[in-house]
């Protein structure tokens, strides 16, 4: 993975140097000294904090975290180890990992490996034993920023050298990371529920749970590399199109936006999650912007404006769609009326878009949860129902011709 500049020490450590040291360096020069954790070496990325008290395995393996140094606000991490069932993709994606109290033992009936071992094996450089709350408050006040974790020999670079490295790292704004996380090959998962049809999934960093829920709702799921064209998609004759979550700045993904516009014009029903919501927003003609420090947690209250219900939801996004929340607006790209279907009650950020004139909707948060509450899982039903309803409409239109 080239986008996450990680180097791992391969040499045996030099005897004189204390290799248990590690330091987290933020781009504003703030330093937090702690203990080395996971792999030893150096990693650069965007420092963000995640507030879930459960689900570190799902977080680590969520491709949306690619390029980010993730700090867990919950102090005890690793207690339940790692297992094959809870992987949200084939590997760990975070660029670095910051925890306060890593577990020394693993205690869970499903556990197969320890987190430490998996982190080391994946070459993820981490740091433990620091005041994670202080870092969180710092990021909350000043915004997500570039950072580096230096451990082992790298911890002994001078503070100036370390800061230079951090400041030379890539900014998240303007960054396209889809290529790093997407599948290289197209593959298909058969429907596991009563078959409804097929869905083309553009893999921008898709999570296993999402694919499973789609299959459960009766879709044959065609997972496509992010490099496909709209013709490739249409050639599959899918009943619907789905854009997944994923890392990076949506404004750097114009090609995917164009693909989506073409598909929508072709009348393909669409459902998007997270990055897929931002791309729908851009396709409809809205702008996207970077949040100061993002939403990363599993306790965010989102209001479904259609029902007035509040759902507790899993979030992982640093960018959001800028759309008017007070009224239905008209797509500048000719897709008709659009409403903001969901908002975050903490800060009024747009959390969902619903097209009134074409069969398309999306949410900024994660109905597939993993980790997180299952409150929003009904959206997969809504998607299936929309596809069925659309087909009925198509059929009746066919019949009318």
């Amino acid at each position: 993975m080239t986008e996450t500049p990680t180097t791992v020490d391969e040499q045996a450590p030099a005897a004189a140097i204390d290799l248990t040291r590690a330091v987290l360096v933020l781009e504003d020069g703030t330093r937090y000294e702690g203990r080395a954790y996971g792999a030893r070496g150096r990693t650069l990325g965007e420092a963000v904090f995640a507030t879930g008290m459960t689900g570190y395995q799902e977080t680590l393996t969520d491709p949306s975290y690619a390029g980010q140094i993730v700090l867990m606000t919950a102090p005890h991490i690793g207690n339940t180890g790692m297992n094959d069932e809870d992987m949200e993709s084939a590997r760990i994606w975070v660029a670095g990992f910051v925890v306060r109290d890593p577990s020394r033992v693993v205690s869970n009936f499903r556990s197969q490996r320890s987190l430490d071992d998996d982190l080391a094996a994946a070459g993820v450089v981490g740091i433990s034993g620091i005041d994670t709350r202080a870092v969180t408050r710092h990021i909350r006040s000043l915004g997500a920023m570039r950072a580096g974790v230096f451990s082992g020999e790298e911890a002994h670079l001078s503070p100036g050298e370390q800061l230079d490295l951090v400041q030379s790292g890539e900014q998240m704004t303007g960054r396209n990371l889809s290529g790093a996380v997407s599948t290289g090959e197209r593959y298909t998962l058969p429907a596991t529920g009563e078959r409804v049809g097929s869905v083309a999934v553009l893999d921008l960093g898709v999570k296993t749970s999402t694919l499973n829920y789609l299959a459960e709702r009766g879709f044959d799921v065609h997972v496509l590399p992010q490099t496909v064209t709209v013709d490739d998609v249409l050639a599959l004759e899918p009943d619907a199109l789905f854009f997944s979550n994923g890392p990076g700045d949506p404004s750097a993904s114009e090609r995917h936006v164009e693909l989506l516009r073409s598909a929508l014009r072709a009348g393909l029903p669409y459902f998007g999650i997270c990055f897929g919501n931002q791309l729908l927003g851009r396709a409809l003609g809205f702008d996207t912007y970077k949040l100061p420090f993002g939403h990363r947690g599993i306790n965010q209250p989102v209001l479904d404006r259609a029902t007035g219900r509040v759902e507790i939801t899993a979030h992982n996004h640093g960018f959001a769609v800028a759309a008017p929340t007070d009224a239905v607006s008209e797509s500048s790209q000719g897709f008709g009326r659009v409403e903001v279907s969901h908002v975050d009650l903490n800060d009024d950020v747009v959390e969902g878009l619903n097209c009134l004139d074409i069969p398309a909707f999306s949410v900024q948060y994660h109905p597939e949860s993993a980790a997180g509450p299952h409150d929003a899982n009904y959206l997969f039903d809504r998607f299936r129902d929309m596809v069925i309803a659309n087909r009925t409409t198509d059929d009746s239109q066919e019949a009318g011709k």
Partner: protein, 1097 residues
């Protein structure tokens, strides 16, 4: 939906007296509810007979009825106040049961009053075992296999199907009362018989055993729009088999993957929906099989519970407050989060710290009781601690218990690993320390898991603590790194000192020289995601502190720590009042306490809250942090009971200003010689007395002053170790029993007093400002001297004391206040024997009766005391209107009489043989709570107090009488009166003889010891068979009380009125005449208006 506009007045039902399983947490939740409702413009009517609570302060409701919680009394209140709705979900099981009774009696319908917070249907679904079970299965969750039995025979049959061990749970009881594990048919018979009796519906549930499974709780809230949130997850460190109230618990759950946690959450939400809780909270308990993750739902409570109070303190999400708002129609998303002010309450708190709760037991008060922990709750209080990790939170919580041996230690341990593991395999108070010792001596985590079923993750944390201890002990020097490591795992200065071979003070000095100090973090509900505007802090040896500077004048108030017998919610009441009064007077108030059940640890109570152990180290660090800005005026130590008082010397030595009575003056009252000099100077008498630090000295003193003697250790509360000793062998026995409790020694001598037989005891609470004495109230005990004042009932004003006696009491109190140098509160206990006034003891601090006095007479003693402590004079406070002009020593004749009655926990404790522990009252306090009855005269007030305490006397039935020789003279009048009122009498031979000679016919019944052969019937069998309705049994002097004990144990088991003193019986009989006409109910506010009217005239 916004607030309903059809609810303008609400009757809130409180939880009654503090009992095991239903304690101060309901004062916290009820107080929150009252505040919220009033803030919403709702007229609040409250009924709660517990005077020790904040909620029954007249300021918290529009009409406060300190009246018994019975359907009849509540109906009278409804008729008088015409509330639109009744809110029963914040007063524990008592309130919920009262609501069901009101509904079943048709009272709610009759008066058109709506039940809010929970519907009757939902209450039934949550509480009825079978209904609940069906509903859980419908929700797709699993339950333990079970059967409901209504007879013993049925139970035996079902047991064959389920196999042993199995669990027995009676329906509709609180705190798991009556439930337990049956390992054999013998156990089954015993538990089911009792359970069928305890259950108001005569039902018990028999269930497959899930002993040793992991136990979890979720706290959920749901609104009318079906928005549901999980406020908190709680994991029990002690696995299934120990009542959650007796378990060490941790929040959040630490050994669940997200998949497993979300499964519990899904089930929880399905259940709260199915039960139909739609305007409030509920608590659901789960068991999880550690081997395969199978989930079983144990139970749910459709109301605010002990766990929800804990969850509120643990997360900063005020469940009771939100529940009250939901009950009047709000939706979760319409309620702002108190802590952030900008985000809504419709979210789930996330923690970046760990909370540990440990239970506080009182087995030392019931030496005969089996200390094995079971599914029946036995703890009397709890301490909670917050740390940035589990080791810190656990160690802080353990030291918050203030109990010898409750913290981990690394001294000598003579027991082998096998012995330790064997002991640890039975859950008891202090098991965690046994586990620590076993692991320290080399037990493996696997062995410890086999013995205890405590999750290996928690066991490894103890291993980690032991490893850190080794690092501390083995370090070349106590350097910064070692100290930081120790502190990051919660080691106290005392533990560090012990490991390094020096004292706590030395460890602290080294630490301060090296600049190793804690920072203070904030409980903010959101792990730092949003700024927190509420200063609710805990310590951590981390980098960044969050204490905001302030330039105000500050007062620190020390709370009273975990509730225990002798130091309960009464002290919290005083602390809270001090906080309110000082805040009103312009001070910034800073509360330090570690008791999650209390109002004082509500972040709304003081300007700043530090949730910290009340040890010298922890308190000094808070004071240091707060001294960085503003002006620290001083620390209030005299309101938090012995806990706070015990810190005064150390704080003073560290240069911290102590407000009010000085630590030296506090000592003066405890120090025999100096105190005697004060009495001498004032011409006051004390019973003959002396002190001793060991047995030989004590025997000498006792023989000199003559038996019987009253012995008590100094510097203890609640009569800990206090006994009446009749001869030297008993004194030898006494020393043997207290030997390893460390309560008597060179620095803490034993006080030996001549015991005054047949004396009337008097309690006085007063204020003194250096020049003026202000009596709060003079209370006359109903039982004679020798019963601990906390267990004794008393009346205010006194009903048999003459004016001259009251004047002597007042004069004596003044002389003592002046002599000791009191600035603030003083409690003095007197006895009048043969017309002579004796001073028994004086305590220059808030007493247990402060809230009772305040409510009975409308004198805010604690508020006034706190103002005196910061320099105001009594005259100022009278001028300001805080204190009434006339003090409490002279109560007008038409003022109401208030009676305080103690509530005792005997039915919670059984011996290892399964028999109830003895329930006779003595000089050591054993009551957990109290009630107040207030009415126009003593008989009426007393009747109300009995009704509130235990349901009152039956109006007819069969009375069993057996009294000691010394009581035979006194028994005649009350028993005669009972006979005239139509009660049947039975008595033991000796007592019957006396009664017959006095013209009172009584059937003779055998004593237990007189019984010959299995088939014979003694009184014990009669009681067991339900053929006796009232028991009068006084212990016979010094001799073994075997017969009496069997009788009393049977009476406690049968839950019938039991009188162990004639004084109490006489009062009860006097009140019988007024019992049947129903009660008049009067609110405290009405009494206050009447008092004000009098003054105006």
């Amino acid at each position: 939906m916004p607030k309903r506009d059809d609810i303008n007045s609400v009757l809130v039902i409180g939880s009654g007296p503090i009992v095991i399983g239903q304690a101060a947490e309901f004062d916290y939740s009820g107080t929150q509810a009252c505040r919220v409702l009033r803030a919403e413009g709702v007229r609040v009517i409250l009924v709660n007979p517990n005077p020790a609570t904040i909620m029954t302060d007249p300021g918290f409701a529009d009409a406060t009825y300190v009246e018994p919680i019975t359907p009849e009394v509540i109906e009278s209140i409804i008729v008088k106040e015409k509330p639109d709705a009744v809110l029963p979900t914040l007063g524990g099981q008592t309130a919920l049961n009262a609501a069901i009774a009101l509904h079943d009696a048709g009272i709610l319908d009759k008066h058109g009053v709506e039940l809010i917070g929970a519907k009757v249907d939902a209450i039934r679904k949550g509480e009825d075992r079978q209904l609940f079970k069906d509903l859980v299965i419908e929700a797709g969750a699993d339950v333990a296999r079970s059967h409901v039995a209504t007879t013993l025979e049925q139970a035996k049959e079902f047991a064959l199907d389920l196999g042993y061990p199995l669990v027995v749970r009676p329906s509709f009881t609180m705190g798991g009362l009556g439930s337990g594990f049956a390992y054999t048919e013998e156990d089954l018979v015993r538990i089911v018989t009792q359970g069928l009796h305890d259950s108001p519906t005569t039902e018990v549930l028999l269930e497959e055993s899930i002993l040793g499974w992991k136990e979890y709780e979720l706290e959920l809230m749901r609104d009318t729009a079906d928005n549901t949130v999980v406020v908190c997850s709680i994991e029990n460190v002690d696995p299934v088999g120990v009542h959650t109230g007796d378990s060490i618990t941790v929040a959040p759950a630490l050994t669940l993957t997200d998949r497993e946690y979300q499964k519990l959450r899904d089930i929880g939400i399905d259940i709260i929906r199915a039960v139909g809780v739609d305007t409030g909270g509920c608590n659901i308990q789960f068991a999880v099989d550690p081997a395969d993750g199978r989930v079983i739902v144990i139970e749910m409570n459709p109301r605010v519970s002990r766990s929800s109070a804990l969850a509120s303190k643990a997360t900063g999400f005020p469940i009771a407050k939100i529940a009250a708002k939901l009950a009047i129609g709000y939706r979760l998303d319409e309620i702002p989060n108190d802590i952030t002010k900008v985000t809504p309450a419709s979210f789930e708190p996330t923690l970046d710290y760990v909370v540990v709760k440990v239970p506080r037991f009182a087995f030392e008060k019931f030496p005969a009781a089996d200390p094995t922990l079971t599914t029946t709750m036995k703890s009397v209080g709890e301490a909670m601690a917050i740390g940035r990790n589990y080791t810190t939170a656990l160690q802080k919580a353990l030291r918050s218990l203030e109990k010898r041996g409750s913290s981990f230690h690394w001294g000598d341990e003579s027991r082998s690993v096998d012995e330790l593991l064997e002991e640890a395999s039975v859950p008891t108070d202090g098991r965690i320390v046994l586990v620590q010792q076993a692991l320290r001596k080399g037990a493996s985590i696997e062995q410890a898991f086999e013995a205890t079923k405590i999750d290996p993750w928690f066991l490894d944390q103890i291993v980690l603590i032991n490893e850190v201890a080794e690092r501390i002990a083995g370090a070349d020097a106590l350097d910064t790194d070692t100290l930081l490591l120790a502190k990051d795992h919660g080691f106290s200065d005392a533990q560090i000192g012990q490991l390094r071979g020096f004292g706590e003070a030395d460890a602290r000095e080294v630490r301060h020289i090296l600049g190793v100090r804690p920072v203070f973090k904030t409980v903010d509900t959101c792990a730092g995601e949003f700024p927190a505007l509420t200063p609710y802090h805990y310590s951590s040896y981390d980098l960044e502190t969050e204490v905001a500077p302030s330039d105000r004048r500050k007062v620190v108030i020390l709370g009273s720590g975990p509730n225990r017998i002798g130091q309960g919610v009464e002290f919290d009441y005083s602390c809270v009042h001090a906080s309110f009064a000082l805040s009103e007077a312009g001070y910034e108030t800073i509360m330090i306490n570690c008791n999650p059940e209390t109002v004082s640890t509500d972040y709304d109570t003081s300007d700043r809250l530090y949730f910290e152990p009340l040890t010298l180290e922890d308190v000094l660090e808070v004071i240091h942090a707060e001294s960085q800005s503003g002006e620290l005026v001083g620390v209030v130590v005299q309101l938090g009971g012995q806990t706070a008082l015990g810190l005064a010397k150390g704080l003073e030595a560290a240069g911290v200003p102590i407000l009010g009575t000085t630590p030296d003056a506090i000592d003066l009252a405890e120090e025999r010689g100096q105190f005697a000099a004060i009495l001498d100077g004032a011409g006051l008498l004390a019973p003959r007395n002396g002190t001793a630090t060991e047995l030989a000295g004590a025997v000498q003193v006792a023989e000199q002053i003559g038996y019987p003697v009253l012995v008590r250790p100094s510097f203890v509360l609640g009569g800990r170790g206090m006994e009446i000793v009749y001869d030297t062998p008993s004194l030898v026995d006494y020393f043997a029993r207290i030997e390893d409790q460390g309560i008597v020694g060179p620095t803490h001598p034993l006080l030996v007093d001549r015991f005054l037989d047949d004396a009337i005891e008097i309690d006085v609470d007063a204020l003194y400002d250096g020049t003026e004495l202000y009596v709060g109230g003079v209370m006359e005990h109903i039982e004679e001297a020798g019963i601990h004042s906390g267990d004794s009932s008393c009346t205010l004003p006194p009903v048999t004391l003459g004016r001259a006696e009251v004047d002597r009491v007042r004069t004596a109190t003044r002389a003592i206040a002046e002599g000791v140098g009191v600035r603030g509160l003083l409690n003095v206990q007197f006895a009048v024997a043969a017309g002579v006034l004796y001073v028994l003891e004086a305590n220059p601090r808030a007493s247990r009766t402060v809230p009772f006095v305040s409510k009975a007479l409308g004198i805010p003693l604690a508020k006034a005391a706190s103002r005196i402590m910061v320099g105001d004079s009594i005259r100022d406070l009278v001028a300001e209107g805080l204190l009434p002009e006339v003090d409490g020593s002279r109560v007008p004749l038409d003022a109401p009489v208030a009676v305080k009655e103690a509530v005792l926990p005997f039915h919670r404790f059984r011996t290892r043989e399964g028999i109830m522990v003895d329930s006779v009252l003595g000089p050591e306090m054993r009551s957990t709570g109290e009630v107040m009855g207030i009415d126009r005269d003593f008989p009426r007030a007393f009747a109300k107090s009995q009704l509130a305490a235990y349901g009152g006397m039956p109006l007819s039935g069969r009375v069993f009488v057996s009294v000691s020789d010394r009581d035979k003279r006194a028994i005649i009048l009350p028993v005669l009166r009972m006979q005239q009122l139509g009660y049947d009498l039975v008595a033991t031979e000796g007592t019957a003889e006396v009664l017959r000679r006095n013209g009172i016919g009584a059937d003779v019944v055998l004593k237990y010891s007189e019984k010959e052969g299995e088939d014979a019937t003694s009184v014990v069998e009669l009681i067991h068979r339900g053929e006796i309705d009232v028991v009068v049994n006084t212990p016979s002097g010094r001799s073994a009380r075997a017969d009496g004990y069997e009788i009393r144990a049977a009476a406690v088991a049968a839950d019938i009125p039991l009188f162990t003193t004639i004084a109490e019986l006489s009062a009860a009989v006097a009140s019988l005449d007024v019992n049947d006409g129903g009660f008049e109910v009067t609110s405290l506010q009405e009494y206050a208006r009447r008092r004000a009217g009098e003054v105006a005239e």
